[in-house]
Each structure stands twice: as structure tokens, then as C-alpha cells.
Symmetry: C4
């Protein structure tokens, strides 16, 4: 399998993980930049992530146009989120857009800014901007429906990992697919811990910048600890057999077959 | 399949979607107006929506009487909700009544009126009246059990999309079945985002009237974005095979067969 | 099937419903009074309700002793809850004891007394006493482990339908098995609606005494509306085939087989 | 089966129970001290607990080194939690480390200290210290990654049963595997009841020291009441067949075979 084939295989896995972990449902999507053509990216056609297979992937240019001029299948309306972020951020190789319920309140009010409180939330980064489409575009249907809106979102994101989208969801950006998926799975978890902590009174201890940095230094996409979650989530999502480890280093230990494919449960 | 057959087929799908999305359980129901006879509507017999098949549908006149005088099966006690709304609202073609848990608190207190905060909640509309059966009828068992009570509920609903029913649930009304189902699925989600936002402090940003209007303009029952959710929910509810697209316009892309264990295929 | 056989068959169904609806788990139990011997009752042996079959039922006298002197199987430690309530309340024919999570906070503090706010919660009754075992017995392991403690709980329950047990769970009592199960399923739902309503601000509207009375008048164990839920819950719990309708009146409509036996999801 | 074999068999069961009860997911682990070699303990290799089989267990010395010098499989990074506690606490025979969501808020703020409020939470103990790795080690990635950090955590734990780990999770320690699993399952439940009680207003009644002590006196790993939960959880986790009762005392009643669709049998 070529490097590109492997990446697209991982993109299918990513779609399934995000669906099974309740980060996306009918809506939401994940993309990867073309490893050899920085002005191209791959994103599924307009279909719920849970159903995505390798045949559903479309190659786009950063302006959201399919590379294949004969492409007939409907694309995601909000592909401009991905194109906008890839354009503004040469360091970013993968993007997620999702409506994951638990993060929504943090984009609706500035009472409690989203910040990492749990260690697995460190990948969110110390600052999470909130993008309000109305600031520049007034009354809209809140969807990122063109290049200009995607660029405005990317501008708000700046150098951060995640931007909340007021009344809508979030956009996450990372240097690898595994990392953007991990960030997207843990963001709602961090949100839940934070909002519950606000209810207990007292002063909340957030992760320090030093802790966030230490965790960034310690984790790579294929470190044992990171890969364990990717493999676990993929297995629970029913795509364990697709998982590979094309990085150099230890040969992949053969994962045990899961006895139950229990779906991740959403906690309120 | 005739247009009526297709509508009734969709009504079965709607029942199953609402059950699978936890909007209804043992109780709750969804109806459609007869496309050719405005004073008739279709509603299942008294049975949990999860179990409804095409054989369980009964045709009623607006006063809640079965058209077939020999009809022996027990009807839903609260069919008067549907008749009352269809009578008062010639624009409405489908109605849902449900007890969906997460909306109940908003009908119990006026501390935080229900209003759209998330984009998918825009279909709720800017104003959500609360109907209290006790206002006109004093102490009752809270069920809409006759024509007069159904008419009073419809009067409270007015031109809105949804009325909360104090201590009971809600009634939703829309110009199409797909839209009333979508509204009913997103109402609890909007409720959850709103009550959590109230706990975070600060000032909540609600959708503006302009945003609500923009979203109404942009969505039709068979727009790609709307239909994607209908298809997704139907598939998760186990009735994906019943889904059709009888509207004019683009030929329906054949949806990928949904299996939880579908494996991604390598891109060639 | 004799009347007793039918009752015990329903007792098995009741166990399964309570387990599937997350009212009980490893702990919790349901009993029925012997229809012909008021000083006897039936309760399963010490086993999780989810696993109960007809062979697991034991007949007890009100003091918690097995009628069969050769009975070797371990009984539930807290059978004294059942015996105590049956003894004090000749009108009660069925009792549930459970730890259902969502009601626990209401037994821990007097900040917000448990009262019906949603119509399906009316069966809780207008007054829900809280029993604290420490009041009479000082420091204990909080279990109702003897006749005296069971009698003290029953005394606290008085003529109410439900008593919360501080730091432990609740005990529910009704004139029929279907009604005590219904009460036990809706009690947590009422609890959730009430605690969320407290977070929204404003003044909460509780069900009035007149509404509670109207609902009691309108419902019998085999009314169409009540039986629909019993059948639905039994079917979802996998024991739909055991359900019968031995009351006089309409012949039982043949229930549609459920396409999915989805387990009730617990909402937080 | 030797005593050691039985213990390791139980360790597999424990892994599966903790996964099925949502205490652990991709992360988290459980260990047992070697019954004959107090300076050795058993812990799985780096794999999600849901997938653990008997072949995945590794024997370590308290400093976290595999006994088998040829051991190639990656160990859990945080095995030092287990070694540290086993070293400091000769009375402890089993340790759990987990990130269970619901306890996280209590480690983030001192507004509401974690204390038992429900009877099944008594095993938490009256005092639950909060360990903050930053106190001694400054900015880290929050993982217990060496002997020194494991010892510092054990020092904070002192003679308590559980220590919360700020921004991370908890560590639980008990004299038996069944007890540490029970404690770990009920800790999140106690957390949920406590935080909801804080929202209801009024003064919360915590378990008294006398009640905690009474419950400790009354429960042994194989008491009927304790073993019922172990068996139930194991069965729900799909490993019911692995459960044995090697303790002296009553012969184990043959548990009913658990099938979700088990039908009640008519009583003869």
C-alpha cells in the first residue's frame, strides 16, 4: 500500500471513529491534505461519516472544487472549512468539523472559556478562540458555505488547534490525522469535566502552559500511548482490521479481537 | 407507488426515526394530513411508534373519528392534538407529539424560555409558546383527550412551529413530514445546549431572527443537507431500505448500504 | 394458566422490565403479595433481576422467612422492605425497592423535595417522604436487614406511594404489579425533569393535587394507555412473548414484533 | 486451578468489568499483588482492558520492571502507580487506575470534596485525598511515569482507599480484587449523586463515619451481596463463564445462565 493509500485508508478509519465516538453524526466531517500536493485535500462526499468507505472520498483543491471535473456526487456544503484552514496553515495536515453536543455551550457564552482541565484535553491547546460568523457576515444560515467564510474562520483560528463556532460546533486542526481525531474525541470530554467542575464551587485548576507543552513534547502519532487509543477506537468502530502501522519502529503487536463492539456511549 | 403510498411509507419511517432518536418511546406519535383531503389525516393505531408498520395506520377526520366506521383498533387517546392543529393551520401537513425528556424543564418554569441557540435548532422558530391545559380546563389528567382541548392547544400554538405542553411534552407542526421530524429531533438537542449554557455564566447568544429566516430560506425537505439526515436516521432506525426520493430534481444518488461493520475499501 | 401462575409470570416480566429500564441493576427487587394469602408474598432469590426466571421465585411470610422450610437458596437481604410494607398496607399488592441513580440526590438534601412535575410522574403521589434509617437505628450499613427496620420504613411511607431512602434508593408500593413498575420507571424521569428545571430559574409549576387525582381516576392497570407501556417495556426487555392480558375486556391486539431490542438508555 | 491461576483469571474478569462499566476505556488498568511474592505484581501489557486475556498479563517487580528479562511487549507507562502503592501499603492486594469521567471535576476544584453520600459509595472511605503531581514535580505531562512519582502518589494516598489525581483520574487500592473493582465502579456513581445533590440546594447528608465502618464490617469479598454484583458485572461484560468461587463456605449456587433474551418459565 502506498503512503497515499495508507493515508486514505486512515481517513476512512477516522470517519468511523468520529461517528462511533459520537463526535459526528449525520453531520460533521474529517479531511487530510494531500501528502504530495499541499493545495489539494481529501474529503468524503456528502454522506454520514458512519457510512464512508474508500470509494466515497473526493480530492479537492483548496477552493473547494473537485479535482475531477466530471465529479457528479454532491460534496459537503462546508468543505470550505477544510480548504480555508489548509490554506492558512501550512503546518496542518488534517481537519475535523463537528457539532459534538457537549462543546456547544462554550460557544454560546463567554462565561466560562474553554480551556484544558484534564490531561487528555491538553491537545486542545491553551487558547480556544470562538468564531462568530455574524461578526463579518451578519445574518446567515451559520454554515461555512464559501471560500470567504472559510478564510474568516481560519483567520480566527490563527495558530490555535481548535476554534469553537458559535451556535454551530467546532473546527479542529492538527499536523496528523491521528492527532486531529484524538483532539476531537477528547474535546467533548474536557468540556464535560469543565462544566461539571463549575458547578462544584471553588476555584478550578486548569492545565498550565508548561503542562500543555510537556504533553505536546511527549506525544507523537505513533507513540505507544497514542496508538493504543487509535487502535481501540477503530476496533470499537468495527474497522479494527483496517488499522496498520506504517511508521518505522516496533512491529505492530497483533491486537486482540474485541469481544464486544459496544458503541461509545454519550454522557451528559 | 402513488404519492399517497409514498407519504404513508414515509410516515412509517418517521415513526421509527422518532423512536430510535429517543424523541418518542411508549408514548408519542406523528401524523400527516391527507394530501388530497385536507380534512383527513393519518395516524397509527395505539401502539409504540417503534413497532409501527404500514398496516397500523388509520385515517381520521379532523375531529378524531376513524374514517372507516368499522375500525376496531384502539386509536391514540391524544389524536385530538393532530386534528386540532391540522384544523387551525392549513399550512401544516405533519404533526408530532412527544414527551422527549430534555424539553420538559422548559415547560415547567419561565426562568429560561426555549429559543434556538444552535443552528440545527433554528427550525424551532423564534418563539415557542408554552401551553398549560389548566388555564382553560382546570384540573385534568393533562392529556389532550377531546376536540376542545386540541383546539385550545392549536390556538396557543398560533403560527409557531412548536408549543411546549406544561408538565407533558411538546407538539410540533410543519409543512412536511421530513421537516417536522427534523424539528422534533433537534428540539431536545437545542434544549440541552441551552440549559448547559445557562450554567456557564455570562450572556447567552441566541440565534437572531435574521439567522432563523436565512436558515428557513435555505432548507427544503429534499435539499442535500436535509435529506442526508433523514436517510441517516432512517438507516440507524433499521428502515433505510424504505427510504425513497420521489421529489423532482436530481436523481437520488444510491446511498451506500449501511452496515455497522462496513469496511473501508482501498482507493484505486 | 391459573391466576397465581399469571401473577408470577408477570413478576418475572416485571423483573426484566425494571432491569432493562435501568431502575435496578445488580441490586433492587420487586415482589407481589399472594393473591389468596395476604400474609405471604413472592420475591426472587438473591440474583440480579435481569436473570430472573420463574424458577427463581420464593414464597415468604411477612417476617421474611421462606414458606418452604427446606429452602436453601440465599434470599435478598432486604426482603424486609417488602414484608414491612405488605404488613402495614393491606391495600398494597406489589412493592419495588431500587437504587435508581437519578432519585438519589433527592434523598440526600431537603433543598428540593421530590414532587410530580410531569404527568407520567403523577403516580408518585403528592407527597414523597424521605426515610433516614439513622433516625431510629443510628449508625448502620443502611440496609433494611430485619423486621424492625422494615416496619420503620413502612411507618415512614405511611399512605404514600413512594418513600425515598436516604443515601440508598427508594421503596414503591402499589395496588398492582403493573402500577408499581410504572411508578418505578417514571420516578427517575420525574427526578431528572425536576432537577433540570431547578437550574433554569423561575418558579416551578408542580402537578396540582387535582391533576394527580384526575390521573389516578383515569388509569387502571389494563387501560389501553397503561398496558401499552407495559407491553412496550416487556418487548424491549426481551420478554414480550410472556405478556398476557387476563383481564376482562378487549381481546389483546397481537403486538407487532419489535425490529430492534434496543436497551433503554440512561440519561443523565 | 491453583490459587495463583484463579487470581489471574479474576484479573482478566476485572479488566473486562471495568471496561464494560465505563470505568476504563482505552486507558486505565488494574493489578494484583502476587499472593506469594509481595514484591511482585501482575498487570496487563499496554492494551485496552476490554481486550485483555490471560495471555496479556505481565509479572513486574515493584519498580515496574518485568520479571522476565526477555519480555518484549510494551508495558503500561503508568505501572508505577501500582508499584508505588503496593510498596507503601502492605495491606493492599489490588490497585485500579482509571480516568472515569464523572470523578474528574472533584479533582479540579476544592469546592465540594469527594465524600460518600450513597451507601454503595461507602467503600470510598471518609477521606479522599487529591494528589496534584505539580506540587512536587512542577510542569509534567501529568502521567505517573517513574518510581519517584508513583511513590509520591502513594504517599498522598496514605491510608485512604482512593486518591483523586488532579486533571487525570483516580487510583484505588484495596485488600482484594473484588473490592477494588467494586470501589471503582461505585466511585463515579457516588460522584454523580453528590454533584446533583449540590444543585438541589439545602444541606447534604453524607454517610457518617459510623455508617462507613458498619458497611466495612459487614462486607467481605465473597458475601452474598458483594459476590452478586461481581457475578452480574462479569456476566454483562461477557465473561460470566470465567467466574468461580474458590472461597471456603457455602457451595456456589449455580448462577442462571445469562442471556439477554432469557424467557421466564412458568412456575409449576
Amino acid at each position: 500500500m502506498s503512503a497515499l493509500d495508507n493515508l486514505l485508508n486512515d481517513l476512512v478509519i477516522a470517519n468511523r471513529i468520529l461517528a462511533n465516538e459520537d463526535v459526528v453524526d449525520a453531520y460533521g466531517h474529517v479531511s487530510v491534505r494531500h501528502p504530495d500536493k499541499p493545495d489539494h485535500f481529501f474529503l468524503a462526499r456528502s454522506l454520514a461519516p458512519e457510512f464512508i468507505t474508500g470509494d466515497d472520498l473526493i480530492e479537492f483543491t483548496l477552493d473547494g472544487k473537485p479535482v475531477d471535473k466530471n465529479e457528479k456526487r454532491a460534496p459537503y456544503l462546508e468543505r470550505f472549512i477544510h480548504g480555508g484552514i489548509f490554506e492558512a496553515r501550512p503546518d496542518v495536515m488534517a481537519v475535523v468539523h463537528a457539532h459534538a453536543e457537549d462543546i456547544l455551550p462554550f460557544g454560546l457564552t463567554n462565561g466560562t472559556p474553554m480551556r484544558p482541565v484534564i490531561h487528555s484535553g491538553s491537545f486542545i491547546g491553551s487558547h480556544v478562540p470562538v468564531w462568530d460568523i455574524a461578526d463579518k457576515f451578519g445574518d446567515t444560515n451559520l454554515l461555512v458555505a464559501n471560500v470567504e467564510q472559510g478564510q474568516d474562520l481560519a483567520k480566527c483560528l490563527g495558530s490555535a488547534n481548535i476554534a469553537l463556532m458559535r451556535g454551530h460546533g467546532f473546527a479542529a486542526a492538527a499536523r496528523s490525522l491521528i492527532e486531529v481525531v484524538r483532539m476531537s474525541v477528547y474535546l467533548p470530554r474536557n468540556a464535560r469535566a469543565l462544566w461539571r467542575a463549575t458547578q462544584l464551587g471553588g476555584e478550578i485548576k486548569y492545565l498550565s502552559q508548561g503542562e500543555i507543552d510537556a504533553r505536546n513534547r511527549g506525544y507523537s502519532p505513533y507513540s505507544v500511548e497514542t496508538w493504543r487509543a487509535w487502535h481501540y477506537w477503530a476496533t470499537k468502530a468495527g474497522v479494527g482490521k483496517l488499522v496498520t502501522r506504517p511508521d518505522k519502529g516496533k512491529a505492530a503487536a497483533k491486537p486482540t479481537k474485541p469481544t464486544k463492539k459496544a458503541k461509545g456511549k454519550r454522557r451528559k
